[in-house]
Amino acid sequence: MRRFSFHPCGNYRENYKQELSIFETDYGRLCVIFFLIILFFVAPFVVSPYMLYILNTIGIAAIAAIGLNILIGFTGQISLGHGAFFGVGAYAAAILATRLGLGFYLAIPAAGIITALVGMIFGIPSGRLKGLYLTIATLAGQFIIEYVLIHWDSLTKGTMGITIPAPNVFHWEIAGDKSFFFLIFLSLVLMTWFAVNIMRSKYGRAFIAIRDNDRAAEGMGIPIFKYKLLSFGISSFYAGFAGALWAYYMVSITTEPFNLGLSVEYIAMVIIGGMGNIPGAIFGATFITLLNELLRYVTGLLMNVGFVTSSGLNMAPLREFVFGLAIVLFILLEPRGIAELWRIFRSSFRLWPFSY
């Protein structure tokens, strides 16, 4: 039996296989397994329905954020249209489910693929544009998609919205927070696993090379346009997949939520979580979702405090203010995000109690 490995006290990697390993130690692997067991076998049965709702929202946001992190954090292409892609996924799933009567197990991946195609169309400018110009092109993409969702009445029913039948497997209906919890978090685990592994493949390395210096990458024989498009595609697939889950979870959807604000929220997740770090995207999604809920709670509370109500002051914009402040503070104080804080926290325990 092989030895159970602990943290080495330096970098003792000797070959590429070690370099590519996901878990540095068996200990880390055990921790993740333990965490997953808690997540799946304990969490859904002990927490309150409201907490379960929050967990589900986090799960969906995390899938989309991982996708955006592949694009921004690993490939270095900034997209301001992720919220719209999320919406495309939601609508694609809704339309496939209502018009074609597809089962959810087909509709959700199909929605992901449709979104991936749409994302690749809006990724075409990346062939010629870089940096700021590309960012603005994706901003245009956001507005155009939003417009199409609202005005293509015959397909999206415009501002009326679409109601989606509950998904079912063998006549067992998935409804309610608990059963959705398993659907969402199984998808999240699967998508995380996929993302982690793609980043240690040839494709992931090409993405990182493009991020670090696209001209040098091109010089080394990486067809950068192809890989940029692929990155847009994968990233949009994640967004679409998450959007489809969200559509099923919400039962009825309208075009309203898929605005620029949502795109900004996703970028905030990626930055606050930590760019170029897959667990970071999950941290970021957790942070932003919790912050949103907390602010909703606090502003709701404040509205009912006597003098605020009587002064006629509307406290709802406070949410927007604090949200902006959180982004600004993270960028100024810890631009590498929560993932970095987590790393520092772990490494301070690494040699415990003998850390110097």
């Binding site: 921004i72 900034i78 075409i124 400018p125 010629r128 544009l129 940096g131 700021l132 110009y133 960012t135 603005i136 092109a137 901003l139 245009a140 993409g141 507005f143 155009i144 939003e146 417009y147 005005h151 001209r215 620029l260 900004v264 970028i267 905030a268 930055i271 760019m275 002051l313 509307n314 406290m315 709802a316 914009p317 406070l318 949410r319 927007e320 203010f321 604090v322 949200f323 902006g324 402040l325 959180a326 982004i327 600004v328 960028i331 100024l332 631009p335």
Partner: protein, 292 residues
């Protein structure tokens, strides 16, 4: 024909407004290569500050106007000093997201103080400024806009081409390290460009407020419309910003007049995507000189 002419005139007027709204944005981009997503909020802050000065403090228009300009100059300076300066040399996305965060902060702040309702300024422009060409009517505020934008265009052109400070600003935008090595006060250049930009933004905010009324949502969406305008004009050209503004203004009024009013908001972005695909650096932008 008359309808066409009136649309044409309206389009040019609206376009000029976009143009001068974009000028402050271009200033910042030109000197510090920062894409300012909080530009709409800067417009709104100026407009609301002016509103507060004339309605609550009951100051005379001229005094209020000057005070607004001074106030926003200081505001721009402070934004640069406290938020942008620590990020000098950081990756593009951090800078972009910082301005996005600032935008959310300012918007929240304005909503907290003034609320989201539409407010209007008292009417103070003399009717004599109005122009009447046959059946076509140009409101006084539009002719004032025309004068102001031409004035600013000339002033900025001279400033950047001829004055030493203007050339230093451009040199910083071009190559920061080299500018530093020659003793250009880079931090002062950044602070100055933000201060001037905020001032110009406040001014355009006031003009927009006179025409459309003051509303933070409208003003911040104009802040986003600046993007197609400056891309058309090429991000770093102030004259281009005016021309881009006019093109977008015409596009909007004509699609509104002949096609469908609901299309007006999205047409600029559709055009934007096509322009970027054909001419990646806009119509009047500098082609990036890249040498390896």
């Amino acid at each position: 024909m008359e309808f066409f002419l009136q649309l044409l005139v309206n389009g040019v007027c609206v376009g000029l407004l976009y143009g001068i709204s974009a000028m402050g944005f271009v200033m910042i981009f030109k000197s510090s290569s920062v894409l300012n997503f909080a530009h709409g909020e800067l417009l709104a802050l100026g407009a609301f500050f002016f509103l507060a000065l004339i309605t609550w403090a009951k100051l005379p228009i001229i005094v209020a106007f000057l005070l607004t300009l001074v106030g926003s100059f200081v505001l721009g300076f402070l934004i640069e000093k406290f938020f942008l300066r620590p990020l000098i040399g950081e990756k593009l996305i951090f800078v972009i997201m910082l301005t996005v965060g600032l935008a959310a902060m300012f918007k929240g702040l304005i909503l907290l103080i003034w609320g989201g309702n539409l407010r209007t300024y008292p009417n103070f422009l003399p009717e004599t400024l109005a122009l009447k060409l046959g059946t076509i009517y140009i409101a006084p505020v539009y002719s004032a806009t025309l004068v102001i934008s031409v004035l600013f265009l000339v002033l900025f052109g001279l400033f950047f081409k001829k004055s030493a400070q203007g050339i230093y600003m451009r040199s910083v935008a071009d190559n920061q390290m080299a500018a530093l090595s020659l003793g250009v006060h880079v931090r002062r250049v950044f602070a100055l460009s933000w201060a001037i930009a905020a001032m110009v933004a406040a001014m355009s905010g006031i003009v927009l407020g006179i025409i459309n009324g003051v509303n933070v949502h409208d003003l911040s969406s104009i802040g986003l419309k600046v993007f197609p305008v400056v891309i058309l004009g090429g991000l770093d050209s102030i004259g281009g910003a005016i021309i881009g503004g006019i093109i977008i203004g015409l596009l909007e009024t004509f699609t509104g007049g002949y096609l469908s009013p609901s299309l007006t908001d999205v047409v600029p972005y559709i055009v934007l995507v096509f322009i970027l695909l054909v001419k990646p650096y806009g119509l009047f932008g500098l082609v990036e000189i890249e040498r390896v």
